[in-house]
């Protein structure tokens, strides 16, 4: 039910202590409330006048008030703390994303991470709220009440004590089986609710096949199948609640009979009997609350686990191992036997024993079939992925274990296939590497990226909002914004590109090529692509196959060799006109 890691969160122990204190106090107030109520009722039963119940009734109301005020205080304290805890968690999550970023994003998926950071946080907060309160209530209140009942009437005490293990046994037997079923049902539920969404998404296809009208019967049928299977599962799943309910109500009924018999035999008087009867439901209440919220906490528990899992991902070690250098015409990177393994199955290949060098302002192409490891190699060069083991890497004779080094990352710009536009203005996006850039610098960069015409055509020019909720930007223009960003920061003399034109239409690509070539001057370019025309622009090619660099050299050398490179190019090119 509860992940042990929850207890290791900072501030949670203090929270438990404080709440436990308040709950003990509350348990005593519940006792007081019951005694005053019993007193008032006994006086009425003895047909005493109204003024005899004034004081007990008043005191009953006061204790009732205190009891619920205590609940308010508990909630207030708990909610504030839970909010603090989740805020800390969210902050750690963001740190985690920043430090282990792409590695984790690849593993978890963007959607998952955003959901975890937003809705997941709410669920986790809710989980802390529910679990902590209900658990403490369950551990403290029944115990205090039971001790008191023993003092009042041993027999009632025994009756209530005997029931507890019985309830727990019942809960274990029924609960586990049913909960398991319910969990499976929950999984099935997701599938079926996806089925419906699936059908809606498939509607255009069904329409083209002329089946869309007929398919509505299928929607109804599937939904009804789901209803039947849900109900049959529910029959078992809610048995545990039923059992708990049943034992509670029945034990009150039994208690009432015992007390009645005791009263007839004269072994007990009305006051303690009434007190025991009033306290009995209070005794079971925390247990019932706890089990009622089981399902509500399931989501929260999963969200919490998910979050804690993410936070436990190990971070890279130091990112300060490279001194502050700048990339010059005579700079070099030497990589020897670079290895990288994805820990789980992945669309792109692992990298095996890759050795290569990058010099000055060379243009280096990475060519390979899809899934051959091109993207992995670019991500390793960018330090977005790092191997667990230190690798043999030298930048200008400085040894570094991986490329996730601050001073390396500030030397390059990165242009992926689908560049990400931040929600903000075009200017914000262009100035992303260099927020302090002057207007003049921005204008120069825009011209260099041939973006001026497009920007002039916009009503708001550079201040046009893009990204989520902003204006849609075509793939070609987005790439130009990336080029302007790279051109703006003249300290970044390296450009890493990952298939920047693969998804663009040929006209756009044609027009963009010139701009790219202009931007490449006086830069080291590392360019992963399967668009063949880029090969002609490169000084040096790394040919990747199944994660290995199986050939490298200038395009001319490779063409002469008639090896895999030639074979690859031929099969990519297809039949000629």
């Amino acid at each position: 039910m509860i992940d042990k890691r929850l207890f290791r969160l900072p501030g949670i122990k203090q929270l438990f202590t404080m709440l436990a204190g308040l709950t003990v106090l509350q348990a005593f107030v519940i006792l007081l409330q019951a005694t005053f109520l019993s007193r008032a009722l006994v006086n009425s039963w003895e047909q005493k006048p109204l003024n005899t119940i004034y004081i007990p009734t008043l005191l009953f109301f006061v204790s009732f008030l205190i009891r619920h005020t205590l609940t308010l205080l508990k909630h207030r304290y708990l909610h504030t703390k839970a909010q603090q805890i989740t805020d800390d968690l969210r902050s750690s999550l963001l740190d985690k994303i920043y430090t282990t970023g792409p590695k984790m994003i690849g593993k978890r998926g963007t959607g998952n991470l955003v959901t975890t950071a937003l809705d997941g946080m709410d669920e986790a907060e809710n989980y802390i709220n529910l679990v902590v309160e209900k658990m403490i209530n369950m551990m403290i209140i029944p115990l205090v009440l039971l001790v008191y009942i023993y003092f009042q009437d041993v027999k009632s005490g025994i009756t209530l004590t005997i029931l507890v293990p019985l309830i727990i046994l019942f809960m274990i037997i029924l609960g586990y089986a049913a909960q398991d079923k319910a969990n499976r049902q929950y999984a099935k539920y997701t599938i079926l609710s996806n089925h419906f969404l699936d059908s809606l998404r498939g509607l255009p296809t069904l329409k083209m096949l002329g089946l869309s009208e007929k398919y509505s019967d299928n929607i109804y049928k599937t939904s009804e199948d789901y209803r039947r299977s849900t109900i049959s599962t529910l029959r078992v799943a809610i048995l545990s609640t039923f059992a708990l309910d049943w034992i509670t109500t029945l034990s009150i009924a039994i208690l009432a009979v015992f007390l009645g018999l005791g009263l007839i035999n004269g072994t007990i008087t009305l006051y303690p009997a009434l007190l025991a009867l009033i306290l009995a439901p209070e005794y079971f209440l925390p247990l019932r609350d706890f089990s009622n919220d089981y399902h509500a906490t399931l989501d929260g528990k999963n969200a919490m686990n998910n979050l804690l899992d993410i936070l436990s991902i190990e971070e890279n070690e130091s990112n300060d191992l490279l001194p502050d250098i700048s990339w010059e015409i005579n700079s070099t990177v030497k990589v020897q036997n670079l290895n990288f393994n994805y820990s789980d199955s992945h669309a792109d290949a692992d990298i095996k024993n890759a050795s290569f060098e990058l010099h000055g302002f060379d243009k280096v192409g990475i060519i390979g079939a899809s899934g051959s490891g091109k993207t992995t190699l670019i991500n390793l060069l960018g330090g977005f992925l790092t191997a667990d083991e230190p690798q043999d890497i030298q930048v200008n004779d400085h040894d570094i274990p991986n490329f996730a080094q601050k001073n390396w990352q500030k030397m390059f710009s990165y242009i992926p296939q689908n560049p990400y536009l931040f929600s903000g203005t075009i200017k914000d996006n262009i100035c992303f590497y260099k927020p302090e850039a002057t207007d003049e610098e921005v204008q120069t960069a825009i011209k260099a990226a041939n973006l001026d015409e497009f920007i002039d055509s916009l009503n708001d020019g550079l201040e046009t909002k893009v990204g989520e909720g902003g204006r849609g930007i075509s793939g070609g223009q987005a790439q130009r914004i990336m080029i302007a960003r790279a051109m703006l920061d003249q300290d970044r003399k390296i450009i890493l590109l990952d298939e920047p034109t693969a998804h663009l239409d040929i006209e756009t690509e044609y027009r963009l090529k010139e701009t790219f070539n202009k931007a490449f001057v006086d830069h080291l370019v590392v360019f992963a692509t399967h668009r063949l025309h880029w090969i002609n622009e490169m000084d040096y090619i790394l040919v990747v196959k199944d994660g290995e660099i199986i050939e490298q050299g200038t395009p001319k050398e490779l063409t002469k060799n008639k090896g895999y490179f030639v074979e690859l190019v031929e099969s990519m090119r297809g039949d000629k006109l």
């Binding site: 109301f61 899809s370 977005f384």
Partner: protein, 572 residues
């Protein structure tokens, strides 16, 4: 809300089942109260030490009956209410499907519709919760309020009225005030959350950029403001809820106190009367369980309201089509005669004076940047859209008059072919329901998937998994192609089927496509010149107009621009 057709009708649709739920729910509450009531009476009565134990026999029996009754009724009520709600869900889903099915234009903006569909599916879940969490508990609560007030009023009218007043405060006044106060906050929180969502997406999708820009502080700062205002607003909500709950308890406490006073005043005539004193007080206590949550249910109303409004706002436009005709489908000639198109009068023209004759078995490639109207042309060709000027004919009949037969004329292979989460066999069979198993397998063999499928443990019965995840992009296209082979239409539309595929896969796929569809008319929208050798005619679109047209060989010879593009594509 007045003209709602998504929630209200269901109050009458399964009326008797609904009544049963309310009866069971009411019995649950009554049994809970009656258990404590009879227990209290049993004890009070016993305390008079009657000579004969049989005198408390009936109350003892009743205690047990109510003790069993409560869990049993509760169990049944939960089952019944879920059953009812799921029944309604089946109806709602079918209805949503049918509504959307009628409206092809809904799917025009494919990017947007994915999101909207998710929302609509979610809305139906919200309606489920509206019933389970708000409507059922509230109605059962009100029935209980009525019963209790009448019960007590029977003993004493004025006290009955007092209790009714307190109960109404508890179940009507406080919930209404609560929802009024919380509504604005909920909307505000929702707005902040959607901003936060954008910012977090920026954080996560842009993580690489943040890291290389070395802007950790900005990265963290991005969400700070909104998180703070969200937390503040949530804190206000929580404080309000806490005070509200305290108020509800105080009102309930007042009810108990007034009951204590009442019983002391009216049930003290003799011992037989006094024996009922504890019964009343104890019987009232369990009612708080069913009255206090009503406010909580009310608080959720704004959220449900949004969903209901959204569902009610789905507009369906019944298309007015001209009289439908039949034609011979063997040889199909498509004529586009100088058409123009724009969505509305004040929106930009998407197609401008476009003409084209597509003879049978022509392989026509349409190339152009995004936004040049490629997709619009396809929609016009199939009759999803109507030109604002002139018409498109198939064998000299307006395509709009052939909508009953469109699935016999056109089949479509698009960017992401949709595979349903069922077996390979079933997915292909969708192409032609009358196809025999052998015909299906033959189609699969023709598209080159025979070996792949037969290698799988379940072979043709393999599930394709959600949106075809089981197969790679190229394989999915091949399976969809097999479906098209079975559909066997004279015209096949290829809507950028190779986007996102690598060039080697693209080559082999296009080879297969043109091989198996060689006797069909093909209209192929593409974004580059890869495999262009398969086309007889290439049509370059830009800015709503035809920029150049001709057979690829001809163009290569005569048109310099085409030559440059082709060379670039080929890397030569």
């Amino acid at each position: 809300m007045k003209n709602d057709t998504w929630v209200k009708p269901y109050f009458t649709k399964y009326k008797s089942l609904l009544a049963l739920i309310f009866i069971l729910g009411t019995f649950t509450v009554i049994c809970g109260a009656a258990l404590m009531f009879t227990s209290g009476y049993t004890i009070d009565k016993s305390a008079t030490r009657p000579y004969n134990i049989l005198l408390i026999y009936v109350p003892i029996l009743l205690t047990r009956a109510f003790g069993i009754g409560r869990p049993v009724f509760r169990y049944l009520e939960r089952l019944r209410s879920h059953n009812w709600v799921l029944k309604m869900t089946s109806d709602l889903r079918t209805r949503l499907y049918k509504t959307l099915e009628k409206d092809a234009t809904f799917f025009n903006e494919t990017h947007k519709s994915g999101e909207v569909l998710g929302l609509l599916a979610q809305d139906i879940n919200h309606i489920q919760n509206l019933f389970l969490r708000t409507i059922f508990p509230t109605i059962i609560g009100y029935i209980v309020v009525a019963l209790v007030s009448i019960g007590i009023g029977w003993f004493n009218l004025w006290f009955g009225l007092l209790l009714l007043l307190l109960l109404l405060v508890e179940t009507v006044l406080v919930p209404l005030v609560s929802v009024a106060f919380q509504r604005a906050r909920k909307y505000r929180q929702k707005a902040i959350k959607s901003e936060l969502y954008t910012e977090l997406t920026d954080n996560i999708l842009g993580a690489n950029d943040w890291i290389i820009a070395n802007r950790k502080d900005d990265f963290k700062q991005l969400t700070t403001d909104n998180i703070k205002s969200l937390n503040d607003s949530k804190k206000q909500s929580m404080h309000f809820t806490q005070y509200r709950d305290l108020t509800l308890q105080i009102v309930f406490g007042l009810m108990l106190v007034s009951l204590l006073v009442f019983t002391n005043l009216y049930f003290t005539g003799n011992q037989a009367q006094a024996n009922w004193v504890s019964a009343f007080a104890l019987g009232l206590i369990p009612l708080s369980d069913s009255l206090i949550p009503i406010s909580q249910g009310f608080d959720e109303l704004p959220e449900y309201q949004d969903s209901i409004t959204r569902l009610n706002n789905i507009e369906t436009t019944d298309r007015q089509l001209p009289e439908q005709k039949e034609i011979d489908l063997k040889e199909v000639t498509i004529k586009v005669d100088d058409i123009s198109f724009q969505y509305l009068e004040d929106t930009p023209e998407l197609i401008n004076n476009f003409s084209q004759v597509i003879e049978p078995h022509t392989k026509l490639a349409i190339i152009g940047p995004s936004g040049s109207g490629k997709t619009t042309i396809l929609q016009l060709l199939m009759g999803d859209l109507k030109p604002v000027k002139n018409q498109i004919t198939i064998n000299d009949v307006d395509v709009l008059q052939l909508q009953n037969h469109r699935t016999q004329i056109f089949s479509v292979l698009n960017q992401s072919p949709f595979l349903f989460n069922t077996s390979v066999m079933n997915n292909i069979a969708l192409g032609n329901e009358n196809a025999s198993d052998n015909e299906i397998k033959e189609a699969i063999a023709r598209v080159g998937m025979k070996e792949t499928i037969e290698k799988l443990p379940d072979q043709y019965d393999t599930l394709v998994e959600e949106s075809g995840q089981r197969f790679s992009g190229g394989e999915k296209q091949r399976l969809a192609l097999a479906r098209i082979l079975l559909q066997d239409t004279p015209v096949v539309i290829l809507d950028e089927p190779t986007i996102g595929l690598d060039p080697i896969t693209e080559n082999t796929l296009m080879n297969t496509i043109f091989e198996v569809l060689k006797d069909k008319t093909i209209i192929w929208v593409t974004h580059h010149l890869h495999s262009i050798n398969h086309a007889d005619q290439v049509l370059f679109l830009s800015d709503t107009k035809i920029q150049m047209q001709g057979s690829p060989k001809e163009l290569y010879k005569k048109n310099k621009h085409f030559q440059e593009l082709y060379k670039m594509d080929q890397g030569i």
